[in-house]
Every structure is written in C-alpha cells, then in structure tokens.
Symmetry: C2
Subunit: 453 residues, 2 copies
C-alpha cells in the first residue's frame, strides 16, 4: 500500500514548485507531479495564474491534464480558459466525461462554447454534450452523464463482457450494467458482482433484476438526492418520458448536490445574497452582504419611527428603553429556532406529513412553555430591580413576542415552501427583521396601555 | 422496468393497511408488502406502535425484516426493541451488516446488548461486532463494516472469483477487491471491472493497483468525508496502525455523515441545544430551546442594566432610544454573515490556508466598505428626520458596530475552531448576544460623549 496521503501539498513543496515553474524546469515539474493525483494538481494550480497553469498543464499527459481541469474550481477554470484557444479547450474536453464537460461548457460564452464543440474530434461525444446542454443544470438531465454500460436483454454474459471491454476506457466506474430492450427502453440492471458470478453462457434475460429505481430527466436534483440517499444507491439510471435509457447519475455528483444545498442554506440563514466564498474579492464580498444589511437597516429605521410615537412614554419612564434589546433579541432567537426546526423537517424525507394544523398546535404549546419560563424569569428580575408595573409590562410583552415569533418562525417557512421559495430564506434576516418590528409594536403597545391606567 | 416509484405510500394505503393489521389479516399484509422495498416498510412502521410492528415484522422474511429494522429511525428502533426478547433481537441482527449492527447494539442497554451478542448464532459475526463496539462512533473504526472482499496478492483471478462467490451473500456491494499480503497488510485493490476484463489465469499481483487511498481506524469522520468527497471514492479501506486491513467504509455511510454535519450546524446556528426533530415531544423541544433563550435573556438583562447608566441622557434625548433596535439588529446581521462565511471556509477542503493575518485584513476592508455604506445611508435619514447631532451619533456608532461585529464574527469562529469547538457554535445566539451588548456599549458611549459637548 502506498502512503495514505501519497502526495502532500506543503508550503515548502509549493515554494520549490514555484521556483521550478519560474525557471521553466520541465523535468523537475514532471517529476514532482508524478505521484500526485489529479485532484491534488488542481489544488496546486489554484496557486498559479492562468499562463503559468497553462504551461504546467502542457507538461502533463493529456488524460491527466483533462482530469485536472475538470477538478478545478469553476471560477479558476473560467479564468484559465481565457488564455486558451477553443481548439486547445476542445482537446482537454475530449478527456472529460460528458456530464462534467457539459457543465464546463455551460460556463463559457456561447461563441467559445460553439467553437469548442465544433473542434471536438469525437462526433458521438459532441452530440452527447449538445444533448446534455439542453437540460437545466439542476434536474436529472443536467446531472447525468452519457457514459454508461448497457446490455440488450437478448444478449448472454459473454456479449455483455465484450461490451464492458469495448467501453472500459470511456466508463471509469461501472457499478451496474443497465439492461434495455431493442428500443432502448430500460428493463433493469445486472450488477458487476452478478456478471462475475454468472456462467458465460447465461442469458442476461435470466439474470437481470427488474426491480430498479430510475429517475426521469426532468426530476429535480433535491428529489434525486433524497432518493439516492434513502435507497443507498451509488448510481441511478435516467430515463426520458418514454422510458428510454438516456444517462446515468453517479453518487459523487449527488454528494456535491447535498453539499451545495447545505451551503446555500447556510448563506440564506446568514443573509448572504450571492454565492460567494471567503476568497472572493473585497468588493464581491461586500456586495453579497449589503442587500440584507440594507433591508435590516430599513427595518431599524421603521422601528425608530415607531418608537417615536411613544416618545412621551419614554420621557416619563426612561427605563422602558432599557428592555428594548431584551425584547427584540429574544424575539429574534425564538424566530430563528422555530424556522430552523421547520426547515429541517422540510428537508427530511418523510412520507406521512403531519398536517399544518398539528404543527400549529404543537408550535403553540412549545411557545407557551418557553414563553412562561422566560416571562417568569424576567418578571422576577424586573420586579426586584425596577418596579412591579415595569415587571408586568416587560413580561407580558416578552410572552407575546415569544408567541408571535414562534408562530411566524414556523408558518413563514411553510408558506415560503408552498410558494416555491427556499424555506431557509425565512430563517435569516427576513424573519428577524420582521420579528424585531412586531416585538417593538407589542412592547410599546402593552407599555402604553398599562402606563395609561 | 418497474415503475419508478414501485411502491407508493399514500394515506389511503396506510388506512387500508391499518385495517389489515387490526384484523390480523396475515395474507393481506404479506401481499400488500410484497412489492415494497425495505426502506418503505420502515417508513410505514413509523406509523405503528411497537407491538403492531413486531407482528408485522413477524410476517416478513427474516432477511427483509432485518433490513427493515436496520432502516428504522433510531428512536423508533429503541422503542421497538422493548417488546423483543434478546434472542429475537439477535435473530434480526444476524441479517444486518456489522457496522449497522454495532451502531444498533450501541443504542441498547449494556445488559441487553451482551445478551444479544451471546445469542448470535454466527461466532465470526459476534466477534466482528465486539471489535467494532470498541471504536468511537465518529471515527473510521466506528463507521467501517467488517464485510469486504480481500484477495491474497499471490492468488490468481479464479481464486479471487471463488472468494467473491463464497462471500457474495455477506457483502452486498463489492466495488473493489482489496489486495493483502500474507500478514493481511493492505497492498492495493482490484476493481470489479478489472476482474471481469482480466484472464482467469492472470495473477492478482500483476493486475492490482497499488495507488490506493486508505484511512486509519482513528481518523475522524469529517476528515474521511472530505477525503471521499474530494477523490470521488465509493468505498475506502480502513487499516490499523500496522497497515493491516480491518474494514471498509462505504459511501452511503459518508452521505449520512455529511447530512448529519449539516444538520448539526443548522442547529448550532439557530441556537438549539439538543439533537431534536420536529416530531419530538413538546417537552423535549422546549428543553432544547430554553438554554440559549435564557442566555439571550441574560444578555438582555445585562443590556438593560447597561442602558440604565445612561438614563439621564435618555431623559434629555428620548430619540436616542429610537435607534437601539437599528444598532443591535445591524450588529447581529453583520456578525452572523461574517461567522457564516468563516464557517464555510473552514468546512471547505483547502490546502494552502491564507494566514489569519490575511483574513483579518480582508475582513477589515469588507467591514469598512459595508460600514461606510450603511452609516452613510443612516446619516442622511437621521439628518433629515431628526437632528444633525443625532445623525452623527447614530452613524458613528453604526460604523463602529459594523467593524466590531465583522471582527468578532470572523475571529470568534476561528478561535473556537482552534480550541476544538465546532465553529458553527459561534454563528448562533452566542455571537448575536455578545454583539448586542458591544453594540449598546458603543452606541451609548458615543452618544454620551457627543451630547456632553
């Protein structure tokens, strides 16, 4: 066994490698990348500019260079390709599986994309890529690759093995052989294990498994991720509406989907408007953050106006102002907790949904319990530190805010989900800003009423 | 091909099925579950109590029933097992792969666990499970299964196929055959594809691939998830410190790890203290939410005390109170955005970390940009609506709060990470409560100073 981390990217390695690149020491570069996996070379290239990377890639075997390009960060690859001619891009695309090739081409300007496709030497591959470009990126058609092994149901095992041999170069990971009829309609699958254990003369018709989970080209990626996770699938065949086998989705793509979904949810919850990463420029990072900050600011300005209505109460009882932070912070915390639980329950695969009514009733009970505990604690504190009236005002207001925030935090994500928005949007600044305003309204209304008596 | 959703769990189906269970109609139950996958039966059993489920499971083939039990929600399974005898549990455990079996036994009381193991008919399996129980659940040893196919490097392909045949029942998904020497030391692997394409007389020694990524038993699950995601692995062999092959981790377990990590992060960001789900009891849900709410409350109470110091300023200029919500809401929003970006960058696989200094400087620039825009907007609004002094106070305070919140939101998660806490903990109520207090301090100090002139 090789070492577990066969190739280690250290700061020292990077320095030495950079010297090699600067002095154009071809032999040294080739040598030091020999034991590297393509994923590691991609990570390394992130540290070099487009021209340098082009030079390094030129020293690798075409096959490896293709894999390296496929594995690059999207932004880096786009920057890279600005120094490549369409013919050069086409050469690398030849070595990339169709699903990734289509994704890469999708990021290029239309003119360059067309030129690259025109320059592809392999006509079948070009047609496959053109087919895949038709699909939305977030549905099965956009996720699937054309590379797969299929066997006609009338074949025997030897014919099937011949097909595997013929396609061995194109299909890196096989998992299963898909069984189709003469019209390419998907009938089932045979696992590689079954092929190994079957007699060579065995008919595919006799050994294939017709209990198979396939997805339609139009199914959404979230749905496919759920399905593949639930049924522990390492690959799923994709069929068109006529049931014809058109492609295959592998589990590595689904892991990427799951990671991206979690990423996007985190951004929505944090109120970040664009798909940014920490290493983007100061300008991009600021731009992604400002929209929600400005919306929050608007909420604050409305809040200021609102409190203004109660200026006289404040001038009489300044201590009313003391508890503004407590009221709105608790409202925000309760709202975020509620919405996070709903978002989680919406993300979980569940078959028999409890009705909206059941959720509503449970929410009310949890809110009452939390509200009573929090209001009780605050009552005691304010009673002993300030006055009984203020204690009454603050605890009544706090209880109401907990109730309101729980309900909004639960219902708004459900509503968003029904309307087709991502419910995580309702766990972010949107919900906290709304609840801030509601909390202020409740607090000052209660205070005004009680102090008027 | 069968239908894509071969078995549909509808409300109507559930009603009919429930009638069948109540009238103990064995034939009907067997019949209606015939085309169901075990995952679907598990979902169905969530709707029945332990006694009913035991009865339903008794009607299934032992093999299928084992799979159903393995697929149940952990809480449900624990409830279930209260109505089973240890011998009965042992019978089902026989049909479950060792990694899942060990996880299931880990959830049982020690006495029952021991009795179940003592009742296992298969001694090898019992020993495997005892071995796996030794490992922490969140490291490679706790994730791996003992089921795998290994071939001695001196074998030929026919011997290897014989081994696959011998183990075919035990190892559901093979992916690769691992190649070991006479001491069980891992040397490499042969994919099933290569076995199919090799001549039967070929020596394993000549066809195996020694470039293999293995993990050590002690490696953490997050690390393994990163590794398998980065290198698109569908399975990873696990070795002990001597390099001996001791198990295998498959991608379905890694997908579960990734999902759980995202789940946990969501809870930390939302300030939920326990691993709860929406369908837990009102009591459990409230208990999980109260700790952070009470900490937030404590923050609010300290805030109240703090504002109290400035009561005289407030009685002079009540409009100071108007902007409390704006200041603390913006601080909270900025803090959460900053920490979410850091948490994301910590979760991403990156090799050449930019230094803390670089992060610090970038954070400062983004904060200045955001701070200037927000403070500018607020200045204009307050200037025209209230007074120039107040405009000055609010915008200076807002700018300072944006700076502070950015820095804290960036640095606290990094610090947490260094100290071995989950950095997502610093994106939740912890950071917002701290920033609320800091924001108030800045606001009232600035106000006090400026109004004193």
């Amino acid at each position: 066994m090789e070492n577990i981390a066969p190739f280690e990217l250290t700061q020292e390695y990077l320095e030495r490698f950079r010297e090699g690149v600067e002095s154009k020491d071809d032999a040294f570069i080739r040598n030091s990348l020999e034991s590297a996996r393509h994923e590691d070379v991609s990570a390394l290239l992130e540290e070099f500019n487009a021209e340098e990377s082009k030079y390094i890639l030129g020293l690798l075997e075409k096959e490896v260079a293709s894999d390296v390009i496929e594995d690059l960060d999207d932004d880096t690859r786009i920057k890279f390709f600005t120094v490549f001619q369409p013919e050069e891009i086409a050469e690398y695309i030849e070595g990339i599986e169709t699903d990734d090739a289509a994704d890469i081409l999708n990021d290029l300007p239309v003119k360059i994309r067309e030129e690259v496709i025109a320059n592809l030497g392999n006509d079948e591959k070009a047609n496959f890529i053109i087919e895949l470009l038709r699909y939305d990126e977030d549905c099965a058609g956009g996720l699937m690759a054309k590379e797969l092994i299929k066997a006609n149901v009338n074949w025997n095992v030897v014919q099937c093995i011949d097909e595997i041999r013929r396609q061995a170069e194109n299909v890196e990971k096989i998992y299963s052989v898909y069984v189709v009829d003469d019209n390419d309609k998907l009938l089932g699958r045979v696992s590689l294990k079954e092929i190994i254990l079957a007699r060579s003369s065995a008919k595919i018709a006799d050994i294939y498994n017709s209990e198979i989970i396939a997805v339609y080209t139009y199914q959404k990626e979230e749905e496919i991720a759920d399905l593949m996770q639930k049924y522990d699938l390492e690959a799923a065949p994709v069929v068109n509406v006529q049931g014809k086998l058109v492609g295959r989705i592998t589990v590595d793509d689904i892991i990427d989907v799951i990671t991206e979904m979690a990423d996007q949810e985190r951004k929505l919850m944090a109120g970040i408007a664009e798909d940014v990463e920490e290493d983007d420029s100061v300008w991009v990072l600021s731009r992604a953050r400002l929209p929600w900050l400005i919306i929050g600011l608007l909420g604050g300005v409305i809040g200021a106006r609102f409190i203004g209505f109660f200026e006289e109460d404040l001038l009489r009882v300044a201590s009313l102002a003391f508890f503004i932070p407590l009221i709105i912070a608790t409202g925000g915390n309760v709202g975020i907790q509620s919405s996070a639980l709903v978002v989680q329950s919406l993300a979980a695969i569940s078959i028999f949904e409890s009705s909206i009514w059941q959720k509503f009733i449970k929410t009310v009970f949890v809110a009452i319990l939390n509200g009573v505990v929090l209001a009780g604690l605050v009552y005691v504190f304010v009673f002993f530190s300030y006055s009984s009236t203020l204690a009454f005002v603050v605890s009544i207001a706090l209880f109401s805010v907990v109730m309101l925030a729980s309900l909004m935090g639960t219902m708004v994500p459900l509503l968003f989900n029904k309307l087709g928005f991502n419910p995580a949007l309702a766990s972010g600044p949107f919900i906290t800003t709304t609840i801030d305003l509601l909390g202020l309204a409740v607090y000052f209304t209660v205070a005004h009423l009680l102090y008027s008596f």
